[in-house]
Symmetry: D4
């Protein structure tokens, strides 16, 4: 069995698993490990954050072993799945998503032929997929689905927002998530107000000279 | 009270309403009545359908009176809300959405400054918004939200898909909707198979000469 | 068994078939029957021709029954295969292509997410695929394959040229096809020379007044 | 009261203020403090200048306290106002502009959904707004207002020119401003003439070798 | 004297005129008479209106003879001025604008080299110019002025909005215009409210079937 | 000898001709007879004219027989030359241009691979070529020549202007052509002045109602 | 004889050669030596590889002397051929390709007028050409061939994929090449699986901190 | 007299000069001194050259004093002329060109409103102008002239080619220039042949390792 087949086999066994109670709520897949920083955030200073940062900020835990769920109400998992180099793995991930208990898939891909989000959405249906174009030139390919083949997209590189949106939808059945979203947002708003007051009350010249 | 103020007043009274049990699940707003055919579908031959067609196909009923909910489990409502001509109405619709019991907003706007979906999402947060660019040139404006301000988008004119996506998310808490989505999809797939067989087995020349 | 499953089943049985000697050399697939005129040619006056016209011009016959091959050295087949509505059919077509004896696949798709050629190429590998963007906006999605995932493309709507290219490659192992290509080209060149002489020798004013 | 609410409260109290005689003529708002260098100018060598540089050049003073107007005939103020993170602040700023005595608003925003100038213009109407796209990709979103919703725009990053234009309009009622504009322009023209003469009379080779 | 020289001569004589009290407030120029419908409005059903419609709506009268001003407080004039075919006329119009008492120039041009608004702004300075790109492809050329050369622009074809903006700026010195702008806007808002109520209360199906 | 070879043979014989005194000054070539209307003008009402109209207006005569030059000082000839279907004819036309006495070549081609002007310029060098992109999408291909390979271009479809430019260059050695250019231009300028006066003096409303 | 003529002479002598049995299967040409890194691969760390890397990986040997073929079943050759500076060399290379025994030409060019692949395809016909746009802005020019003039293209800079595609077509007559392609692909797939497992099983935080 | 007026005065005096025998053949103007490197060439290693390099290569001398012509048959001059900041200087330069004896003007400008080449062409007519877009985003503005207003353009930054083209046109009346062009070209072609032979005969691996 090749390495690809081993992962497919694992996914299919998990799908057949009798007790899917501890399953990841959100599945994050990306077309290449070179998409990692855009999809998950680089963790470096100045980086505006990716899916990992948003999930962590909202209290989600990463599930790395399927039968070994983290001690948290909300969880996610991460895989590299290449539509063009490993179409069988992509197909298997999407096809087993519902049985594996994944509620929402966030799929990111770069290049002009960013097929991963679209194909995953087509196979995983009716499990919803939020597409993340990893590059500006990937936007058209991700968003352009034909009538009858649903997928929703965020802007290029906006994996952080993809998580916020996913959690908005998950909060339709869980009020605690709505509270966490609001709490996060209040902090964000406070930051805007602080800098606004600093710029206005201190004046532009002082602001220009800060740091 | 102007006509705009009257609608705002109505929305605010509904938000204060004690018993929001019979509320529309999906709120559909558009920036202008000239967006109607794209957002809801023209109903004419050859039209690939809009939000109204998708909602009807999936068994949703339109709620035209707030206290007079239709006899159906799943409902929607429709409003014209112009971000640029009636910003106060847009603000009021978005701000009251949560209290009025709207679960998901589908907002469509045309032009290059298609601000309605974005601003509605910013005010209605954490109620999720699916943006529909009414024209190709509206895509950038709708999808380009900054980090921290979530909105998901479909492609230009794909209001039908916006409903499919919305229902995918609503089905996270209601299995009946997942069944309806699958039933719709099976029919769609059967149509592809029928025409594929006809074209292959009958040959291209016969297919070219049909009708 | 659904209609889609029936076609998949047929393809798989053909792949297991012991004697693939009479198999189509070229397989033509398109994402929707609405792509037919662009992919095959409408046959109407003024139409510059599609794959069907090119194949016919070069002496290929269409094979509509698998076990009932036409009496010709060179053959093709045609299917509608939707990547987004019937991903299982697309997967099966691509996966069985090699065993079914298809030498080159010409795959056309429209829209901004024109995934059919790309995904077919990824699954059918090493069977080569020539992608045909059905619309101008499909070009980026079709051509933009990442390193390691080969696909060659023609320009938007140039299904006629896709056949010429396919036959150029097939002629690497069959000189008769090279002769047919040259014969076709000589006629084309003669047409250019005729109109050039007419315009020059008769003068622009007479040419403007023709027809 | 949150920080955002405090600023809103301040704006509203100023709007109710009885004696608006010492009010800023020009209000400058930007969607994020990361827009500062583009909107106001970085003050670094080689920077072509922003709104702050233009205003200073034309003798405007910054007003940082509302009741503590600077000792100058022409003044401006600066705020950070995020359309997507603080829509309530944006709404309040725009709605109070007329009462607060702001004559012209210069609003800058980046990204593809640069809604701040547009929404401010819609709410502040009939107070005029000059929109500054902070990035090239913001131009479409800023300029694309529908019929009936006026806004004028300058090119991406041209906050310096936005001030020149604003002062051109203000000079319709104050001749002193027209004089200042002309004086600035004469200097600019002299610089062109100087370098033109140097390049021509000294020759291209010498010019290439300068510095 | 050629026809062009005659118009130039007339403009220069008007500039020297001692009593410019009855002068047009707004000067409208366009690069070609083929721009008329876009710049002024075709007056046909379904046309969303041009500068002429906006000016008329706000009570402006057209001044066709210079010494024969209309009996109205606010006036405008209209000329065809081609930057590329009659650069001398363009130069003369812009250079005499200030002396002729024109307060704001609205200049429209089509094509990719839409130089008229830019060059007029450069020569007429400090008289402000609002540029109207007559075609989508004219936007870049109109808006892209370098630092130090002010011009504000509206979107392609938005001559109606150019007038609204011009009047916003003129209302800085004349409150009556602000009132007229508000009155116009209230009517516009009422129309949105009416159609919104009709669509919501009557339901989408009835709205689709209207007319 | 094929038809193409016959034309090539004719061109080469003309190049060897001893007495090239009566040779066409301007050679016009186009990639396909479908480019005729754009390159030469359709002659229909409303058409703004092509190369044929410009040449005729400036007194050039078409030379249809090489040894049978028209009785005029300035002449041109016209050929269809396809870079992709008849590269040998293109090569021969360009290579013989200098010996055949063609001073300037105007070459037009459509499509995204509009190679005819570029390749003709490369082979005919140092005979200058003015490229005419027949479609908007041909502009990039025509204008984008690398350093060392000169070609000048006009805008898409501007074959009329290509002739004006060619004649400007030819007038460097023949003052009569400069006079003809000026005479043409004076008429053009008079037309602008006439319509400008009509629109201004008659007023916009009358102009709107004309015809 | 100039240097260019010497190469042309060599190509023509090789075409006349009686025994073309040891000829390069694949001919690689590029418009400039500045295209080398994109066309062949820079060989530096992080470079994703070019045609040279792909050919080497699949066991092809470079043939640098025509009569001195390398000891390998599959071979290639490399030339710089400028369409615009050496059109005669381009013409000669393309015209002699068939007689010289080149089966497939891979032609790369940069700039907006990337004519080399197109013109080579037009002259070398029926020898097939795979075009490689060296820059993103070269894609349109390379792919946009008119009906009747076949050429297939890969995406900008994808010279590695051009070789994979070429070998797919060559494998139609040689099964050994199909095996090599599959072996290469299996390795590629294994790499995806390895990194996918590492990211999932180790968790995103550990993956972020790697290296 | 301002500095600008002084240059205008000088140009007008030169135009009135009785003996224009020693006048620059080519006038080079640019919109800003920041365009110098693109227009004239930076003279640094790796720079592909600008107008100055091309003119020098072809034996032209720069004329820096009008009455002090260099001792050479072919000459040029250089000025900075800003269309937007010094429209009067631009107008004067263009208007006096014919009388000052300038045969061809090469005009370069950057930005999206690159009006200098267009306006110079309109005023200088019938003196021909070759436009050089200094930036990619300047191409549309430079090339897009309307019917009746001739201008020819080269690609963005191709000032070197603008000179080659200008000299091609000048060589229509002076064979010596044609010889110089051919001599330059032969050298260029030799360079291509040298590197082609080196790459082919030495092999790709050795070429990759060079330097």
């Amino acid at each position: 069995m090749t390495e690809v087949e081993e992962i497919i086999d694992r996914l299919e066994r998990q799908a057949d698993d009798e007790t899917p109670e501890n399953t990841p709520d959100v599945g994050i897949i990306m077309g290449s490990d070179s998409d990692f920083d855009t999809m998950m955030g680089s963790g470096e200073d100045g980086d505006r954050g990716g899916a990992y940062d948003a999930l962590t900020r909202l209290g989600f835990k990463e599930q790395t072993g399927y039968h070994d769920a983290p001690d948290a109400r909300f969880t996610f998992e991460t895989y590299v799945v290449s539509a063009h180099r490993t179409p069988d793995l992509m197909y298997a991930y999407a096809e087993t998503a519902e049985e594996r208990g994944v509620d929402i898939i966030i799929a990111g891909a770069g290049g002009k032929s960013a097929d991963l989000p679209n194909m995953t959405a087509s196979v995983a249906y009716p499990v919803p997929v939020i597409g993340v174009p990893v590059q500006e030139k990937s936007v058209d390919s991700v968003i352009g689905m034909p009538t009858g083949a649903p997928l929703v997209a965020v802007d290029a590189g906006k994996s952080f927002n993809a998580v916020l949106s996913a959690v908005q939808f998950l909060s339709l059945r869980d009020d605690e998530l709505a509270d966490r979203l609001t709490e996060y947002h209040d902090e964000l708003r406070g930051n805007v107000a602080d800098v606004s007051r600093e710029m206005h009350d201190g004046g532009a010249e002082a602001f220009r000279d800060r740091s």
